[in-house]
Amino acid sequence: MKHRGYYGEFGGCYVPEILTSTIEQLDEAFCAARSDPAFWAEYVRIMGEYSCRPTPLTYAENLTRHFGGARIYIKREDLNHTGAHKANNVMGQGLLVRRMGKKRVIAETGAGQHGVATATMAARCGFSCTIYMGALDVMRQRPNVFWMERLGARVVAVNEGSRILKDAINEALRDWVTNMDDTHYVLGTACGPHPFPEMVAWFQSIIGREAREQIQRLTGSLPKRIYACVGGGSNACGIFLPFIDDDVELVGVEAGGRGVATGQHASRLSAPGAAVGVAQGYKTFFLQDGDGQMRETHSVAAGLDYVGVSPILADLHRQGRVRFESATDTEVVQALELTMRAEGLIPALESSHAFVQAFKEAPRMSPDESIIINQSGRGDKDIFTVADAFQDPAWRDFITDTARRYANA
């Protein structure tokens, strides 16, 4: 490895010695791919023929009218095959896995989107596949677990630690240090040891590259601001980075959970609770105690419920290039409700965080200005969570009846 993936003081590659050569091999494969224009062309072709890229940039006429401020555009990553931006990263890494000649992939997943995307890629590419998922997330994202299994993946519920995303990453790393010869770890976000943050951000940059062209075509100019939710940070990096040299304000929205004051949240950059540390292979802001033990986090959105954050974003935060905000669970459900009714769009709970902040700011902006919200995924997967949030009685009855039918079968 020529460089170890530092962004300011963040990033690096803190892995057990046994992984060194594996990571080096990956880095080489990635560097070779990146400097080969045919690779990106092939990637774009596959994303066009298997998923539906370029995804549209939708003008949200009704929301724009509703808020009476900036013109609101929505980047439609929800239309990707498997329902989220995760497909981009996964298909890209799948191409690299082929180049490296490996036959098995593993992945962690929180919301289950990355797991479904990886299981899908594995089915398509003929790899065997194991997905690690915190036991808590297995419960709140059951439909995704079901589909992963149907796609042929083995899903391992992780009962260690807080039983959420970070614990799934640990388990995936444990698998990797054991099986790296034939196994590639398809990390799902722009975190982890170098070269993952750079690689994932590169694949996801397809979002921002498209959006940049689209908004200029539609409005004749660049947007004033761009909003993206931030779990690990991959969808945010993906849409932000191609605008990094432009006069465009970039806003990352983290999980405010039950409110940052309660401690039950996952706001690493927008709230004072986090500190710089090293875990899961990289250095960044982590929600941790004074001893360096990771704290429990909470978000209604399983995909944002994570202690760390992309080192690329940590650096952009420190530089002041990206502004970070947070949205509470309650605000998120409200924004979701409004978006469904006004535009017929069902953003994932994760993505709805970006909508919250955009909705707060749009009214104070001018109709001459436009903003882009990255709708990183669709909300179908969240039906159990959303039904609970809305306390839908018909849904409860339906589940109760189904359970009764199972009991009598």
């Binding site: 170890r4 690096g12 590659c13 803190y14 892995v15 057990p16 010695e17 046994i18 992984l19 060194t20 050569s21 594996t22 260690e160 630690g161 970070k166 640990n170 790393l173 444990r174 240090v177 054991t178 099986n179 790296m180 010869d181 500190a275 710089v276 540390g277 090293v278 875990a279 899961q280 292979g281 982590f286 941790q288 004074g290 001893d291 360096g292 033990q293 990771m294």
Partner: protein, 253 residues
């Protein structure tokens, strides 16, 4: 100096034993009793693991010990105090083992200073490759401590040489891929690997991951200098209580 101590001991014994415990598991008092039994049974050196919430290099046994210790309220401060007390009471070298974030949050230089002052000999930090360890190595060197680095079966010759160039005291050779606590086949393949390790450094070689009984230790005799017993003693304490540790250690060699 640690290396010197090890060489002296090696002159008396064909192979040395290093054991590993997770501090505060099941509690600090028991931890101290286990240390006492181990020392009494003839252990030559000990790793004291400061628990961390994300121990990525550890398998289920040590992982759970970490979690249980933390859940019981153990703190880094308490672990450091434990190390100081152990080093004062017992005549063998002690090392801290932990993940880098524990040192980083504490302050790497401050950490080195405290453990030096406590009488420990060095640290093992499995998620800190030498490339990321400039500050760490400097602090260890300044305080005359041993940063224990790791050889792996996946390392190239060049890599072994590079790691060796940063190592002090001894080198920890992980016996195989994977995390701690799983079965290891001590076979011919291991032979070739240990020969490569031997060629790469003049420092004593410790071998860990999966060493669990006298047969394994016998295999290592002559091929390495130190056999590391990790998860197996924790399993023993879990199943038979701290009292069983002494006999077990005594029977290994």
């Amino acid at each position: 100096m640690l290396e010197h101590y090890l060489r002296e001991r090696l002159r008396e014994k064909g192979i040395l034993l290093m054991t590993h415990i997770v501090l505060g598991y099941p509690d600090f008092e028991t931890s101290m009793n286990i240390v006492a039994s181990m020392v009494a049974a003839g252990v030559d050196m000990m790793e004291l693991q400061i628990p961390f919430s994300e121990p990525i290099a550890d398998g289920p046994v040590i992982l759970h010990a970490n979690q249980r210790s933390l859940a019981a309220g153990s703190s880094v401060r308490r672990c450091l105090d434990f190390g100081r007390e152990a080093a004062a009471r017992f005549p063998i070298p002690f090392l801290f083992m932990s993940y880098y974030n524990i040192l980083y949050r504490f302050g790497v230089e401050r950490f080195a200073s405290v453990i030096k002052d406590s009488g420990l000999q060095g640290t093992i930090v499995p998620d800190l490759p030498p490339e990321e360890g400039a500050e760490y190595m400097q602090a260890m060197q300044k305080h005359g401590l041993n940063p224990i680095f790791i050889f792996s079966p996946a390392s190239s010759e060049a890599r072994l040489a590079y790691v060796a160039s940063c190592a002090r005291g001894f080198v920890y050779c992980v016996a195989r891929k994977g995390v701690t606590g799983r079965e290891t086949r001590f076979s011919d393949q291991m032979d070739a690997y240990l020969a490569r390790c031997r060629r790469a450094t003049n420092l004593p070689l410790a071998v860990g991951f999966g060493v669990k009984d006298r047969r394994d230790v016998d295999f290592l005799r002559g091929r390495a200098d130190i056999a590391v017993i990790g998860s197996q003693t924790i399993r023993l304490v879990d199943e038979h209580g701290p009292g069983a540790v002494g006999d077990f250690i005594a029977g290994l060699r």
